[in-house]
Structures are given as C-alpha cells and as structure tokens.
C-alpha cells in the first residue's frame, strides 16, 4: 500500500509546529520597517528546540525524539510557510552530521538549542573538500556552520573560517556574510546526509510555494476591481489554479522521495532530484505569480510577496542548486526503470 498522507500522529506534529509558528513567527513579522533588526528568528531557537524539532528525526537512544525524515520534512514544510530562517532548518540536519563522528554531546547540544547552527550556501567550493567560497545565512551567533556540497557535508567551526565579512543581502530579512574555507576542515562524505539536506530544502520550498498560493487566493477574494473580486476573473483564477497544481505536484513528489529515502529504495537519488526540481519550480513560479496577483502591492517592499521569490534563490544555494539537479537527473541515470515503484 502507498500512503502519502500524514498519519494522525504526524498531523499532531504538524499542528504543534504550525500553531507555535503562527503565534511566534507569523509571516507579517517580515514586513516590519527595514530599520528593525533583521533575522530575529534566531531568538526562537530555544523555544523551537523545546518543541523537540531539532532532534525529531534522531533515534531515541541517541537522544532524539525517534521519528524519521518524513517528520523532519513535515516540519520543514511548516518552516517554509512562514519563511523561517534557513539556519533553523539546518538545525534539524546538524545533529545527524555530529553523529557521523559519534559526537553525542555535540548532537545533544544542537538538539537542546544550546549550540546554534548557521546555514552555509555555496558560492564556489570543491565537492572533495568543501574548500572554497561560501555565504553564511543568519549565522552571526552560530558556533558551527553547516556546509553541504555534492556528496560532502560538514559542521565547520566559526574559527575555521577566514575573512568573514558582511555583504548586502538581496533578501533584507536575512543576515548575509561572505567567507572562505581555505583549508583544514574537510567534512565527511555522505550522499545520504546531503540528500537529507536537499529533501528538507525541497519540503521547505513546497511550504513556501503553498503559502504563496494561499496568499494569492486570500487576496483575490478581497481585492475588488470592476465591481467584483479579482478572483472571479479567469486570468487571476487560472493563475491561482496553476499555483495550486505546482504545489500539489511538488509536495506529492517530495513526500514520495522522502519515503524512498527512508526505505533506502534503489531509486531514492532519482526521486530526490525530481523532488528538488519540482519544488524549486513551484516556489519560483508561484513566487512570481503571487507578485503578479498582488499588482503594484506585490512589487513593493512593504508586503511579503517579493520575499518568496528571494527565499527561493537563497534556498536554491543550500545543498544542490537547480542546475545541478537537472544535469544529475539526466546524466547519472540510464534510461528506463524509473516508472514503477520498486516492488
């Protein structure tokens, strides 16, 4: 049997995370005047750790909650809906990385929220060593940065990074630095953990694509022109329908890829590349459509639609980029054999 719907237990996890985020990290927090301090999401770290989120996919005997990547993906999707800081998303992967070197105490500190993790986004770096140029997103207070490139992943200490400098972020709600990892630390080789990053990024992007859809639908019901809600016009209605279709396709594929990963299915890598492509496509196209549906308002920096497009670009740099998925999906896999589940 194939069941891509969340179980009752999973539904409870979704509800507890989403209700916390609705209270403490509503999307409107990102429309505060730009003089306000950016990246306040870091302040939520302890509380989110208290929900058990950072250890949700870690085995109980290793100090985690004992669920798996499916539950992590469901949480990531909720993070995406409110465009929560990517560094908090990496907090779910970081304990797994710490455990590759059997560093239980570090994993425990990350899960408890005691140690903050930053999110690295690759500019140009070697997939053999991680050495190269990186962006750091919302990482100012982080002791460790999660870097992931190709099949290589690692938690690099802040002191190992040279020439950290502030740069102006395209998304002004995210704090951005530029740095270089020049030598020393090389991370570990783990296709499985890198795929975990990619899948959680995909789930996050689906959540954002879904939120953009809902935002457009809500607006199309209240905004009136020509004496009727603009959602009654097919031009707008059809754009909204396409947004939903893109989100549904992306979530279905992400959920399926997550299960394939958990089951260590033979086609897990293939399914993950497809999930990443469909979710990136959903966020980029829904982000653009959401701006269009909001008209002039969508173009302003005073409302949130522009942030979905920008977040798409940031998330695209964490783990494998869209271009990488495309060439992998064609280059690495021979024809055939991907049309049926491996029964």
């Amino acid at each position: 049997m194939i069941d891509l719907q969340p179980s009752d237990e999973q539904q409870q996890i979704i509800e507890s995370v989403s209700s916390y985020l609705a209270d403490h990290a509503p999307i409107e927090r990102l429309t505060a005047p730009i003089e306000a301090v950016v990246s306040q999401d870091g302040a939520l770290r302890h509380a989110i750790a208290g929900l058990g989120v950072f250890g949700i996919g870690v085995a109980e005997e290793l100090g985690g909650v004992g669920y798996g990547i499916a539950e992590e993906a469901l949480v990531a999707r909720e993070f995406g809906r409110v465009l929560l800081s990517p560094s908090l998303l990496m907090g779910m992967v970081a304990p797994h990385v710490a455990l590759t070197s059997e560093n239980l105490s570090l994993a425990g500190e990350i899960m408890s929220g005691e140690t903050a993790v930053g999110a690295g986004a690759c500019i140009t770096a070697s997939a053999e060593s991680l050495h190269g140029d990186w962006h750091l997103i919302d990482s100012r207070d982080a002791a460790l940065m999660l870097l992931c490139r190709g099949d290589r992943i690692g938690l690099v200490g802040a002191s190992d990074l040279a020439e950290r400098r502030d740069v102006l972020s395209m998304d002004w709600t995210l704090d951005l630095e530029r740095t270089e990892l020049a030598g020393g630390f090389v991370g570990v080789d783990s296709a499985s953990l890198c795929r975990r990053v990619n899948l959680l990024v995909a789930a996050y992007m689906v959540g954002a694509a879904e939120a953009a859809t809902q935002m457009s639908v809500d607006y199309a019901c209240v905004r009136h022109q020509f004496n009727q809600p603009i959602g009654s016009f097919q031009a707008v209605k059809h754009r909204c329908a396409d947004m939903l279709a893109a989100s549904v396709a992306a979530w279905s594929q992400t959920a399926f890829a997550v299960l394939a990963h958990a089951d260590q299915a033979a086609d897990a890598a293939y399914q993950a590349h497809a999930a990443c492509m469909t979710s990136k496509n959903a966020l980029f196209s829904n982000g653009a459509a959401n701006i269009q549906n909001h008209g002039g308002i969508g173009f302003t920096g005073e409302h949130t639609p522009h942030l979905f497009v920008k977040r798409g670009h940031f998330m695209d740099r964490i783990g494998d980029a869209d271009l990488t998925h495309r060439s992998a999906l064609l280059g690495k896999f021979p024809s055939g054999s991907h049309s049926v589940v491996n029964f």
């Binding site: 049997m1 859809t213 939903l244 279905s252």
Partner: protein
Amino acid sequence: MKIEVTPEETAFRAEVREWLKSNVPKTARPFAGDGVRDFDLNWQRRQYEAGWAGIAWPEAFGGRGASLMEQLIWHEEYALAGAPRSGCCFVGLSHAGPTLIACGTQEQRQHHLPRILKGEAVWCQGFSEPNSGSDLSSLSTKAVVDGDSLVVNGSKIWTSYAQHADYQELLLRTEPGSERHRGLSWVICDMSAPGIELRPIRTMTSAEDYHFCQVFYDDVRIPLSNVVGKLGEGWATANATLGFERGTGFIADQIQNSELIEMLIDMARNRPGADGAGSMIDNPSIATGLAALRADAAAIRSMTYASISRAGQNNPGPEGSIVKLIYSEVAQRARKLSMDILGGDGLETTLAEGLVFFYLRSFASTIGGGTSDIQRNLIGERVLGLPKGPRL
C-alpha cells in the same frame, strides 16, 4: 506516510505481469480505420476470458473487484507490457458501465454489462453539442415523450468511435422549456435506430483519421425503458460516476508518457546534432527539457499515489482536475520536444513510428475531457474557493 508492499500485492503483480506477457497482442493497434473495432473487441474478449475485464467493477456485476492498490498495479503493468489502450471499449468500461451499475435497472444491467465486459458491444458518448461544449448544461438536443417512447431531435458532436458503436449514452433535454441542468435525461440509444445519421470528422492528426463524428437525430425513437435513473434527472445520473476509478484508469497513460520520455532520451542520445556533429542531447535546451520532463513525470506519478492515499481516507474530490491539468500539459511538452529531436524528419508523418501522429494528437489533450481552462476554473472555484465567474 508510508509505502509497504504486502506479499499479496507482490503476488498479484507477478500474476498480472505473467499473464500480460503472453497475452498482449503481438500486432500493433491500427491508428484509424475499420480494423479498430475488431482489434479492440478481440483484446477486450481476451481479457474477459482470463478474468481481468472490468478491473475496477464490483464482482457482483461481473468485474474483477480489484482494490485501488491492485488497480494501480494492473495499470502499471499494463502500460509496461505495452498493452493497447482500451480504445473503442473505453466509454463502455469506464463510463457507461459504471453508470449502469450506479443507476441502471436490473434489466438494463443484465442486458448491457456482460456485453461490455465480453467485448461484444461498443459504446460511445453523446454529451457535447455544437453549441454546448464546456458549458454542457446548456445542451438543447431534445426528446419528447410519445407513448412509451422518447422522440429525439438534434445533434451531438465530438463523438469518438460513433461509427463503430452499438450504443450511445445520450444526455437529452426531456422537459420542454427547462433550463441548465434541470429537465435532462440520461438515455441508452441504440445506434442502429432509424433517423440517426453520422458525419465523420477528420482530425488534424492525419488525412485518414476520422476519430470522431457529429451525430444527427431526426425523430429517433428510443423506448422509455432506456432511461437510466429518473426521467428529468439525467444530470445526477451523468455525475454519478465522477471519480469512479479515482484516477487509477489514468495511470496507464501516465506511464506511457514516462516511457515516451525515456524513449526520447535514448533518441536524443542516438540522433546526430542539428549541425551534424555530436548528438541531439548535447544541445542544452534539449537536455534541460528532457530533465524537466523526467522530474514532472515523477511528480505526476506521486500525485496519483497521493490521490489514491486520499481516496482511502476520504471521498475523491475535484483534486483529479489538478492531475489532469498537469498531465495534459506535460504530455504536450514531451510531444513538442519529440519534434525538436526529430528535426527535419518531423515533416513526414510516416517516419519515426507514429511520433508525428501522436505529436499532432497531443493538441487534443488540453481540450478533450474538459479543457484545461475549465479544469482551472474547477480548481479555482471548488478547491481554492475563489469567487465564481459570471453565469448567464
């Protein structure tokens, strides 16, 4: 969220695979012409004799009574075995039959259901009219009661396989002066009845392809006992089978589309590039297009799985429109890309094993079975709850 394969499902898959392997017709289905009817009925009869006919029909009505998961497996294996589409048996198996099961009388069921399953009767659909396409409930072909008969006058159009059909499911306005979905009746029409005339319509796919017909009715008499459901309540009858197979009937098409994409990848690797050097797949725009198609095909399959999961928990909803919308546009993109890969050979219909024929036919995929524009309206209004557009 989970994927678990039971031993029963594995065994069922093996059984299906084995049977298909030795029974799928060796000869290709004719694209068009009179051979179509015999070919489709023979294949249906073969399935019936082995107990596979009506895979989704309840056992009480002679069907296989397969679970959703078994239907999924059947259709997956069916497509992988390269089995021919149900063709002119489609309306009987997937629409008229299920409607009779849901709303028919004992006599109607006893007469028609076995004939559909055994491959003895071909059905066609008579819903659309020249002036009632997307706006179906505006239909005006009318029937008046005269004694124990209905007398029908008017015209239906886009009737696939009408020239091969024995029966037609006919949606008629039986209450004079009624409007919209009120006063309609769903009626079984014998295609050999006097007063029926067919005008085959040539399609854009080839000069020989007369896939559908316009059907004219001139005082055609149909016994009142052929009304399915209540007289005047045909709209309810027509809607009784919506979501009957919950999207599983669609899986074979999706898999054939995936197979097409794989075939195109091989073709792009093997055909020389446009300038004679390298191969077609070295062209980044073709490579990107193929990768995107692979991802989309994977997503469509996952969406179908998700809709089956949902069906297990709730009634199927209008979400089927989402799969249809995406599938038809992805299928069109795949066909368009096949023309890019074919290059100059694409100008000749006879080359490349029907690729050109199917490319041309793909223009229908965003029109037939509810246009993509109508699907978007349904998604917008019934799924997203957006305000309805103007209704006249």
